[in-house]
Amino acid sequence: MTTPRTTTTAERSDGEVVDALRAALSADRVHTDDLELALYGRDASLLRGDAVAVCFPCTTAEVQSCVRIARQFGRPFTVRGSGTGLAGGAVPLGRPVLIVTTKMQQLVEVDLEDRIAWVEPGMLNLDLTRALRRHGYHFAPDPSSQQSCSVGGNVANNSGGPHCLAYGVTSAHVVALEVVLPNGDVTVLGGLDAEPAGLDLRGAFVGSEGCFGITTRVAVRLTPDPPAVLTLLADFLDPLDAVAAVSAIVAAGVVPAAIEMMDQRITQAAEAFVHAGYPTDAGAILLVEVDGLPGGVDAERAIVERVCTDHGARTVRIAVDEAERMLLWKGRKTAFGAVARIRPNYYLHDTVVPRTRLLEVLSKVYEIADRHDLIVMNVFHAGDGNLHPLLVFDAREPGVLDRVHAAGEEIVRVSLEAGGVLSGEHGIGLEKKPFMGWQFTQQDLDAQARIREAFDPEGIANPEKLLPEGSRCGDIAHLDAAHRERLLASGVWV
């Protein structure tokens, strides 16, 4: 005999939402299986949530239906691309309808005349670049996760990558966006004109982390492939010498396409995977890329070589062919993934500090990790001072998470004190939300909250992300004392 179960209101309305979604999409593209929902609980961060259903729309109209249904049933919605985000942006909170873009991967149109391409949001960054290769172009933002992350995710996080030093981050490479707004309407932000009239809402949407709606088509700028490229690997015994060399390269008037730094631990972990011949006894290595016309490239190579040697580089290796170049980059680009060779979990911030303070902040980062008895591995975009101190640990060790968070907080604090900013490219999501108040004044936060409200007056798009509770001026006054205390305790208003 089966035990009779009482159906709660929540369950009934779960069922109703799901039925409506299935009717709008199709039964096989709305999933509610318990185990599957657990898989969609997380992205590449440590945070977890729980969705009511996972939807796989194939068209803008279907995305629109998902949003409308969520709204109609009073549910929030969260959009997810490839789930490689490091800040918990795609983690479903408040049992939302989770809208996944992985079945929207078409390259819709390539317009060589205007040098733009329209792509669907689920298209993978590297797939796009590969598809453009035969035309002699690429998509310039190249996050280290580029083989896996989606263009929509890049837009939402305004992602950067090694080559954004010379080319700029995603925002500089997106000219227009088709967007499904939180009220279910479809609109196009930005345009193909160089100076579109009116407010730059496209600019506001890029970096909005799924809180302003869902982009369903992206017009990206095509960047011509450089005629010549050289990649150099300089190795230093002292990481601080490497940092000094970075500043000196820029001071010498060279703006390389990329300057990346990896310290000894991360170099060793990456080498164990790629076998690129990284010097594993070096204190740090720099990967420097110069590109442009062959003559210029050669001149810049000479300068970079000289500056590195002057700053104590033991050797400067130049990749002899494309295969070697790709191998050198592969180690850098898979570095985060390789950390499990040291410990199974990682936690990182991606603060940006002025290049001139890099030395000082980096030494403090090592000191902080030591003090908390943690291993820190540094791999970062040295050219623009964008740090990625990876704290690696084994979450199964009791109490370790508290130490990790404490150390993370201190790292953020020293970065901000050095005149830095909270996030270079990974986004705020959930992970860094508590620190927003450290960087922004109440007025700043209020302004941001107002923009968000303009896009999403009902607060249903990826709620609880990006802006801390109480960002609107006056919010804090409405909070009860206990809640205010909690916020203060978690550092929101420090």
């Binding site: 999933h31 299986d33 318990d34 185990l35 599957e36 657990a38 898989l39 969609y40 997380r42 992205d43 590449a44 796989f56 490839s82 789930g83 490689t84 996944v100 992985t102 079945k103 991967q105 689920g122 993978l124 590297l126 797939d127 590969r130 996760s145 083989q147 896996s148 992350c149 990456a270 164990a272 995977f273 790629v274 898979t334 570095a335 985060f336 993934g337 390789a338 950390v339 499990a340 060779r341 199974p344 979990n345 990682y346 084994d394 199964r396």
Partner: protein, 391 residues
């Protein structure tokens, strides 16, 4: 609890860098059909947070076991080992009827070489009288009715002949023998040992490790001595190289160390072969398809290029060596996904503009031929370059 190591499960950091290298994720875009999702599902079941239900079984069964994710994973997650352990847990009683008796018997029967040959001949007759729907069963269009026996030529090396391959693709073995003879190498054929006709790869993939172990033991007895054992099937080669792990005995370790893929072995001796090519032949353009068990498991796929370079113009496919969907018995057990995965491969071949494909694994070549591609084994190309043959 699954028969997997906690540390293996913990080594996945969830970064997602493996996603585009997984054929089933590429087709579906669904986390449940991705390496990261499968590992997370294993974790949930392993720690007891979720029960073993149909959904979990589906996630595991749809994995092609191509191990593309393993090569792509910077953290070194041993996915093959995790999947093998999980399937053996399922087959070991966690899911009643997971491997029904008739399938178990089927895997066991592969060792009985006479039976395989007779069975194949029956199928061949069935095809001739149109009783057997070849395409639907993933069979070659015209199975051989009667095959001449292979002739040994000495004792420098062994040639592993296998179960189904010997029945369906003896041509490949014959080409291998001719090429080896041309290189001045004497070849022995496996001793007839009861139950020694199958390497056990299919049983291992199905989670039937007990069946696989019996097959492995018998196989080892068919190759006495120290001579190298050359294998012209990437799937069998991968399995035989792993016998040390499967059986855990010093004899198995020693045996495994003697196993070499034939392309790998011939590539080492390519200097001896290259001068034998007939210069009146026109070089052909050939696309290389890397069998996953050569590329991701044995990791010797580059030797196919070394071997073929003197004889043909090689063309690389632009799909990063993504799996073709054959996966041993996968094409039969998951025909729909296998077909969709194959479409990507067929498209990649189409983009290359080449009509002839070289594949070092019988499963891949059957699967791809069934989609209308012209596929042959690399040693067949070398044989033709040396001895003439199809032009």
């Amino acid at each position: 609890m699954l028969h997997v190591h906690d540390d293996d499960l913990a080594s996945c950091v969830g970064c997602g860098l493996c996603l585009p290298h997984c054929p089933t994720f590429r087709i579906t875009g669904e986390e449940r059909y991705s390496p990261r999702g499968r590992i997370e599902a294993m974790r949930q079941v392993h720690i007891g947070a979720k029960p073993v239900e149909a959904s979990f079984v589906d996630m595991m069964d749809t994995c092609v076991q191509c191990r593309g994710c393993e090569t792509a994973c910077p953290s070194g997650v041993p996915f093959g080992r995790l999947m093998e352990g999980t399937r053996s847990t399922l087959a070991g009683g966690a899911v009643p009827g997971y491997q029904p008796w008739w399938r178990r018997i089927g895997y066991r029967m592969l060792s009985a070489h006479r039976a395989v040959v007779v069975g194949s001949r029956l199928l061949a007759v069935g095809q001739r009288v149109r009783l057997v729907p070849s395409r639907r069963l993933g069979l070659p269009d015209r199975l051989p009715l009667r095959e001449r026996p292979l002739e040994p030529s000495g004792s420098d090396v062994w040639l592993y002949t296998g179960c189904v391959m010997d029945a369906w693709q003896r041509d490949v073995h014959r080409a291998a023998l001719r090429v080896l003879r041309a290189a001045g190498v004497g070849v022995s054929l496996p001793r007839p040992v009861r139950g020694g006709g199958c390497c056990g790869a299919l049983a291992t993939h199905a989670g039937l490790l007990d069946v696989a172990r019996v097959q492995a033991e018998a196989t080892m007895r068919a190759f006495p001595g120290d001579a190298p054992i050359l294998v012209d099937s990437a799937g069998c080669g991968a399995q035989l190289k792993d016998l040390g792990h499967l059986l855990g005995t010093p004899e198995a370790e020693r045996f495994a160390a003697r196993v070499v893929d034939i392309d790998e072995w011939l590539a080492r001796h390519v200097d001896r072969l290259a001068p034998l090519a007939r210069h009146d032949r026109i070089r052909r353009r050939v696309a290389v398809q890397d069998p996953c068990h050569l590329r991701h498991v044995q990791k010797v796929h580059l030797s196919v290029r070394t071997l073929l370079a003197p004889f043909v113009d090689l063309v690389e496919l632009d799909d990063d060596g993504l799996c073709c969907g054959a996966g041993g018995a996968y094409a039969v057990l998951q025909p729909e996904l296998a077909g969709d995965i194959r479409e990507r491969k067929v498209a990649a071949v189409g983009r290359s503009g080449v009509s002839l494909v070289a594949s070092a694994n019988p499963g891949c070549s059957l699967h791809l031929s069934a989609a209308g591609l012209d596929v042959c084994h690399p040693v067949q190309l070398v044989d033709e370059a040396i001895h003439g043959g199809r032009a």
